[in-house]
């Protein structure tokens, strides 16, 4: 008798856990619904599939868009500088 009731208690526990999982899935629905739309959003990870060498590399090294912008700005400035110097030297 005792064995039976303990098994029942386990089943109840499992049922509760399943309910909790259900609820969690329902909640995930809502979030996923809104995340599935494109916008300036912090989306869930994009399709992984076979990760590029590049993707793996950049997963490990944190570079922000802002840092990259600065870098690009510097390169463009350097480019203009080089062209100007080269042009001036070419004149003389």
């Amino acid at each position: 008798m005792r064995l039976f009731s303990s098994r029942k208690a386990q089943l109840e526990q499992k049922a509760r856990e399943l309910e909790e999982r259900e609820a969690r899935l329902i909640q995930r629905e809502q979030a996923l619904e809104q995340q599935s739309v494109q916008s300036e959003e912090e989306a869930s990870p994009p399709p992984s599939g076979p990760r590029n060498a590049k993707e793996r590399f950049y997963d490990k090294i944190p570079v922000t868009v802002h840092q990259l912008d600065i870098f690009i700005g510097i390169c463009i400035a350097a480019f203009v500088l080089v062209v100007l110097i080269g042009a001036i030297q070419g004149q003389g």
């Binding site: 499992k14 969690r24 909640q27 809502q30 619904e33 809104q34």
Partner: protein
């Protein structure tokens, strides 16, 4: 000084095709628990993400202690004293618990000219924070070593450690056991007494009525009203949330299962821990539900049948013919279609148009002179499907990733229909889809079964399994534990079979 710690007024937020927030509002008093309720898609999470700086509002204002503020991003929100515990965890499992708690705001120390992370201080602080929330985890242990519910507790600790004035809890108890929920409530009470304003989003009526002081209800992105919790009952809340007549969740099933057409015998994965000795059959016009707990290897089994995974032994027989399936193209040629579990990862071709997504598996049918693609025919195909399945999209050239989950799923179904398969494997077909679209998909599934197609449907939602299946196959730990007839199925007998091999 305002009586409200935080106010959000007239918030509007639109995503392509959907108005997520339509003049929503919220007013939080310090030292109270304010519940935020509504159906899926009502806008609760969206509103909180606006508060926390994850989204930028199209219109609307936020006032913090009477002063207008603009919250640029989550770090900015944290500086204002707003912390958020998210619904879906984003744990960095490979790193320690301490690192997860302080991610993005590691304590730094100066060594010469360089600032580096002060690990000692981080772990000391982490230990203290964990103690405050009554958790005994070792902050140096890997986060991945914890169970899902423990990870959720760490998320909560993370938010609490930020020493916040406003705390947003978005479905915090979804993965917690009863004991852990009690611990959470103790923490909430402690925070209340410190004057923190707490927003509590949950679907669980009993929790809401127990812990909250005020309740705000939203519907379709709009603010419906705020009431004192003690004036509300469960029925009142539901009425206000739904605001319209509840309809049947599942369509009437008129499909009539016929003779057996598909037999799977002794199907075993090459991975000994995955599915093994699976034997079952499916009839014409039948919907076979597949139930089981997470980890039961249902998806793996179906992937094996479809050729995405290797099997070591077993046979697939369709209409008397044995099928050799080594890759998806083999299965597709024999008339099998599969809607995968994670459509973003393995379903949709996100950067391609709807027309491309619909036609990709059947391009051989639209050729001029054997080489050139007939764009007109493809366009016709897309329009036919848009009409047949009620797909909401501005045009066939729209990128599929800008569609809602339900519409994306319909595009995928169209893709498979173009090949006229006889067997459909659906893995969690309504995951991440709102209530209205779910019903439409159920109708599509029922229609397919009525036409004589065999449907295998994996689902983790009891209601869905019981409501839609003619028969249910239950799996546990990679093995089939039993079959239940649709009309005799209920939560208990499914659960019993689903946990047969779980450690007792």
């Amino acid at each position: 000084m305002s009586e409200y710690r935080l106010e959000m007024r007239n918030v509007v937020k639109t995503f392509p095709g959907v108005k997520a927030l339509d003049h929503a509002q919220l007013r939080l008093r310090p030292g109270t628990v304010h519940a935020l309720m509504g159906e899926n898609g009502a806008g609760k999470s969206t509103l909180m993400k606006c508060m926390f700086g994850i989204y930028h509002m199209d219109e609307g204002e936020i006032f913090y202690e009477g002063q207008p503020v603009h919250i640029k991003d989550p770090l900015d929100a944290l500086h204002h004293g707003i912390a958020m515990v998210h619904q879906e965890l984003q744990p960095i499992t490979e790193r320690s618990i301490g690192e997860n708690i302080y991610v993005g705001r590691y304590p730094l120390k100066q060594i010469g000219p360089v600032k580096i992370i002060d690990h000692k201080k981080m772990y000391e602080d982490a230990a203290r924070v964990l103690e405050e929330v009554h958790m005994n985890f070792d902050p140096r242990a890997k986060l991945g070593s914890l169970s899902v519910s423990q990870m959720q507790l760490v998320e909560i600790a993370k938010a609490v450690s930020a020493d916040c004035k406003v705390l947003i809890l978005d479905e915090p108890t979804s993965s917690l056991t009863a004991g852990e929920v009690e611990a959470l409530f103790t923490i909430v009470e402690e925070l209340k007494s410190k004057g923190v304003a707490i927003v509590y989003i949950s679907h669980k009526m009993d929790e809401i009525l127990r812990i909250s002081d005020e309740v705000t209800i939203m519907r379709d992105g709009q603010y419906i009203g705020t009431w004192a919790a003690k004036e509300l009952t469960t029925d009142m809340i539901i009425t206000k949330m739904v605001g319209r007549e509840l309809v049947d969740l599942y369509p009437k099933r008129k499909n009539v299962p016929g003779e057996e057409v598909l037999q799977i015998e002794d199907f075993t994965s090459i991975n000994p821990k995955s599915f093994r000795n699976v034997t079952f059959s499916v009839r014409k016009g039948e919907i076979l539900g597949v139930a089981g707990l997470v980890g039961a290897q249902r998806t793996e089994l179906m992937e094996g049948l479809f050729g995405l995974r290797c099997h070591s032994k077993g046979t697939i027989t369709y209409k008397g013919e044995e099928l050799k399936i080594n890759r998806p193209a083999d299965a597709i040629k024999k008339g099998i279609a599969m809607l995968t579990e994670d459509r973003r990862a393995t379903g949709i071709l996100g950067v391609l148009s709807i027309a491309d997504n619909v036609s990709i598996s059947s391009l051989n049918q639209y050729l001029i002179g054997g080489i050139m693609l007939d764009d007109k025919k493809i366009e016709q195909l897309v329009q036919d499907n848009v009409a047949k399945l009620s797909i909401k999209t501005p045009s066939s050239k729209t990128l599929i990733q800008s569609l809602s989950g339900g519409n994306q799923q319909k595009v995928l179904i169209s893709r498979w229909l173009a090949n006229n398969p006889d067997i459909f494997i659906l893995d969690e077909p309504t995951r991440g889809i709102d209530v209205g679209a779910k019903y439409e998909i159920y109708c599509i599934i029922e229609e397919l079964a009525r036409q004589g197609k065999s449907i295998i449907m994996i689902s983790s939602e009891m209601g869905e399994l019981i409501g839609m299946s003619d028969r249910i196959m239950v799996m546990c730990d990679g093995r089939v534990t039993g079959f239940i007839d649709g009309d005799k199925a209920n939560q208990e007998n499914i659960m019993e079979l689903a946990t047969q091999f779980e450690a007792v």
